[in-house]
């Protein structure tokens, strides 16, 4: 990877739910934290991966013939022996159905900008722009900063979605000056539980938020804290009350609670990951409406717009 290359999971145009207007979302690959429920598990690793989608495979066996390391097998529930596979990607090129595919692609910053510019006319008629998401867009701030600077030059509105686990001074230097809005994930208030479910303590995340939120209150760019409602993990009454307490202390008046979407479990299988939650029934179904309403009620009654 050179200094002008980004590891991109995907670039999706026409997003209507990732900020104002019509937006193009750049999904970075690689994330510093490890949430067990991650909706984009294929975005966690900072490496290119090979993915296999059983539902698309037509069983033509072309890949079995082409693989020079014989690491594909129908007897393997994950299909790919990832210890042997050298990621040559020859099988993805010959797979006629697209069942085998490469996850993550190194792209020149300039090429990413050119792709985004195709959507610019839509940003202009909708007051939309680009949303940097992930993975984690701050995972490699130097490069992300270069992308943001190039986009700013084109007059494009930039929203950054972040997990908040970053070096603040670096963030203020490299990211903040070029962002127009921040969506900031605050997941679990209890630091032990945070460590347990997300792999890191929430201390840095909360501290960073305090700083950025104060800047916002002093006229800086808008920061919107957001919480995904994960059954039994983030949607507990304790956690929501903890959020309210934190928001009151920090003078936060607006948040967003994101409904749970269980459609991520198959994605784990595709990249050969086991996930303990996939056997948990409440995780594989859409969330209990009552619990979600209760969370929203608490936020509402605390005087916070949600």
């Amino acid at each position: 990877m050179t200094t002008t290359q980004l590891l991109i999971l995907d670039i999706k145009g026409n997003s209507l739910d990732d900020g104002p207007g019509i937006r193009t979302v750049v999904f970075f690959k690689g994330c510093p934290i490890d949430c067990v429920w991650c909706h984009n598990p294929e975005s966690k690793s900072n490496e290119v991966e090979l993915s296999f989608d059983q539902t698309v495979c037509i069983g033509c066996d072309t890949c079995l013939e082409i693989c020079h390391l014989d690491c594909l097998s129908r007897n393997n529930p994950y299909y790919i022996d990832r210890n042997t596979c050298d990621l040559c990607m020859e099988c993805t090129e010959t797979c006629p159905s697209g069942a085998l595919s490469q996850v993550g692609k190194l792209m020149e910053i300039e090429d990413v900008v050119q792709l985004i510019l195709k959507d610019k006319p839509f940003f202009e008629t909708s007051n939309g722009g680009v949303t940097l998401s992930g993975g984690e867009p701050t995972f490699n701030m130097e490069k992300t900063s270069k992308l943001m600077q190039a986009l700013k030059k084109e007059g494009i509105h930039i929203l950054i979605e972040t997990c908040g686990f970053f070096n603040l001074s670096k963030f203020k230097e490299l990211i903040y000056p070029y962002a127009d809005m921040i969506y900031y994930d605050i997941k679990i208030m209890d630091s032990v539980l945070h460590q347990q479910h997300c792999g890191v303590s929430n201390e840095i995340i909360l501290n960073n938020f305090r700083e950025l939120n104060r800047d916002y209150q002093r006229g800086g760019i808008k920061v919107l804290p957001r919480t995904p409602l994960i059954p039994g993990i983030t949607d507990t009454i304790e956690n929501i009350k903890g959020l309210v307490e934190f928001y009151h202390a920090e003078g936060v008046t607006k948040t967003e609670l994101l409904s749970y979407n269980p459609l991520w479990h198959e994605k784990n299988l595709m990249i050969g990951m086991k996930n303990i939650l996939s056997s948990d029934e409440k995780m594989t179904k859409f969330a209990d409406v009552k619990q979600e309403q209760e969370c929203r009620r608490i936020i509402f009654e605390a005087g916070i717009e949600g």
Binding site: K12, G13, N14, L16, G21, I22, I58, C60, T62, P96, S97, G98, K118, D119, P121, F122, E124, T125, S126, G128
Partner: protein, 991 residues
Amino acid sequence: MKQAKSSMNLLTSLTLKLMASQFNLRPSLKKYLKNTDGWINFSIGIKTENGTVEQAMLFNDGRLKVLPYVPEDADAVMRFANDDVLKEMVKITPNEILNLVMKNKMILEGNMAYLQAFNFYISLIMGKKHMKMLEKAKLQEENSRKEEYGSDDLEISKEVNERNNYRMKGSAGEDPGVKHLEDPYLSAYSLDDFPRIKMQHEKYFASKPAISSERPWLLTEWFRENGFEDDKDGNPWFPELRQAYAYKYLMENKEVVIRPDSLIAGTCCPEDIAVVIYPDTTGTMIWGELNSIDKRILNPCTITEKTAAELHDIYPFWAKRITREWVRDKYNYPLSQKIDERAFASFNFKTVALSHTIPDLPTLVNEGTNSIIGRIKEQMNKLKKDETDKLKTLQSMIICLEGLNTYASKLAAEALKLANDETDPKRKAELNKLHEICNHVPQNPAKNIDEAINSLWICWIGLIMENNNVSLSPGRLDQLLQPYFESDMENITDPDEKKRYIEHVIELIACYFLRNGEQLNLVPDVANYLFGGSHAQTAITLGGVTPNGSDAVNDMTYIFLKVTEMLSMNDPNMNARYKVGVNSDTYLKRLCEVNFITVSTPSLHGDDAIIESFSQNSDVIEDVRDWGATGCVEITLSGKHMSHTGATSINIVAGLEMALNNGYHPLMNWHLGPETGKIETNDFKNFDEFYAAFARQIEFIIANTVEFNNMASEAYAYLRPTPLLSVAIQGAIENALDVTRGGAIYNTSGTFNIGLADVADSMMVIKKLVFEEKVITLQELKNAVDSNFENDPKLHAMVQNKVNRFGSGDDEAIDMANKVAGTIHSFYKSHKNYRGGDYTVGFWSVAQHVAYGSLSGALPSGRLAWQPFTPGLTPHPSASKSFLDNIRDVAKLNPMYMDNNIAFNVRLVPSAQDSREKTVDTMFSYVKTYFEQGGMQIQFNMINSAVLRDAMANPEEYKNLLVRISGYNAYFVNLNREMQLEIIERAEFGI
């Protein structure tokens, strides 16, 4: 290969003999062998393709006779694929027989009217059995729909039916042409505020249309008395004059009707909702259905015994005076007609109607017929005495206008009579006013909006009585009516009275929509499949720019949009123009909101692309700026242009199939095209060579479709010249030439070309996988296509996944679509039409992407045999997950190749959680960007598949659910199952 006669031959002979003896012996049947003109004589042959069966039935002077051979001069022959199809024929109802043609199981040759007559006679014997079969089939269909598509969610229809409950407000002051509306969106009003309209609207959707014989009966009466080819004295008629006299007789004798509560006088027919019959085009197509049309599954119509008897009596008079049959006789059944009648490679719409144009209503309304008669007389005075054709042509125009004036006077008398009998004072006053109005217009210039609308409606009735009610389009009515609206308003000072006047105008326009909707075009059962749900296609066009280029959006634009939203009717077909940089955001957002509320109307057009494109046909920019949509989407220069925009269609896919098979068409089992190279002997060394073969096949198809269209034009000029329409298109009076002969200022013919996306995608597969990447050979690809990919799932997956399609954002795929469009455009432009004008080229499909699809094999793109193509030129659903790619690619098509417009169908599914404002803003951004990028046309279906499936199962909940097919609107519940599923399978983009 000829085979020996089979046992089926004997059985056929026995069956026909049984039929013959019934008619020969039973007086109750025998009476049908005769009409006013005498015995009905004709002959029908029955054959199988392999020679196992050959029989004929002779109808001769009141006797039926069975022949063991098909005579040379048989009027029509039914050629069945084999014995099995013939057996199947016995089990089906007459209305389904033409569907056998669509499935390519049977070929009909010869006079279609007599074939329908034969079906009629069969139905006389089989009638009761057929009824039972139809009822059973109908019940089965209803039940299977409930089983297959029914939903447990009883609330599912609620959201779409309640969209009208919330209405956005518009900002005032954004449109310079809006002078009086404080809220241009008129959000305060709904149908509930107009109880009289609501009642008429409810009645409209509760009524079944009736077949009307008034028009053809009166015309035939006149022709029987005065002759058709020759007059009473045996001298050949001058066709224009003959039509004019007959027309005048019709207008003098047709029933005058003023509907209860209507603010507009007159109707096209006496029946509440009427199907108008034109026996010289498609009228005889329901001869075989006269006894069953009320029982058929799709779009049934009522028919009285008297109407059925009248039609059976006049059809024999017309059987050889039909455009199609006239061509067959005169040109000895040319190849171009044979191709047309198999309906797989081209289909001529002129044999249905030539009325796809926009008459000059502004002149009729603003000037009045009396002054026009004066102008025609002046023109006659300028001519020399020996210029008899010109003199007769002009005289015909005057005769027609006199007929129209007589009709108006009779309406005035009827209004007075009704007023005298009326007890309700409000209605009495309205009727007295109608009496005054009809005494004044259309003879004289209209003075106010009531007179203007009544004048245009009376003229409209006049035009419909002359010409088929298929796609005759009123054009830019907001432009015509705004000056009347403004001058009326200037006379009102009291704000309450102003408000009441605006409400009155809404009611007036609603009355106009309802009256217009009361005349339907004829749909023979086969047309349920070819043009499912298609209707009279009265296209009204709103907005855009004026001839001098300024903003044309005005108060009336918004009033029309309000009525469109309130009534949600399939006809008139609403179209709106949008000019980037001139028309306001407020206006465009309103167009989006009305589309959301009504699900699918109006259709939206980009003025920049259209004006750029059509300028190739006119140097006068003011004329081009005054364009209006015609029929589905097509471009006509208002009032100056005999555009017959829906003249003929071709199936581009047929050209590709023939190129893959050296000129042979596999499904048709017919080697008709030029020999352009064999894949089997490796004749194509590179992509260009293969493309050249395709181009030659397309050239062949276009040459044939043009030839037949030009012949049909000649037939029209003789059988049904149109003096009244000629008055209403500028140039004809000055040239003293009927518009069917080229009298208009502009004289193009429009074509629509189907399967562009499917062919572009297929060409990309051939180019990339065969010739560039050399992953497969052309022979391998052809083998897979020939077997419908059944033996080659790997290749099938590859062609669908490994090549970028049109609509994916890939520049090469866009170039390919442009290349195919350019090829088609250049071939058409090398021909002239009968009137000396050019052909224009469009890429929209009515509903023929389904019909042509059902007669086409598998394609290199991976589309399987018999499946629909994409509608219009819409990208395939798998082209891209991002709707933005679709928008950009369609906008990048070269408008110069598309001077008869396009249809870009888009299905958007708004999120239930989003506010109306957010939904409208998103639609607005898509449309505005599309037009800024050079987009030509876009149309929406704002509905998700679950609701559409529910509508298939529970049609009663969705009576006026409008959907866009390709260019036109239809009520979803009136569509055949294949078309309903085709809409459900279209790409669905969530917003």
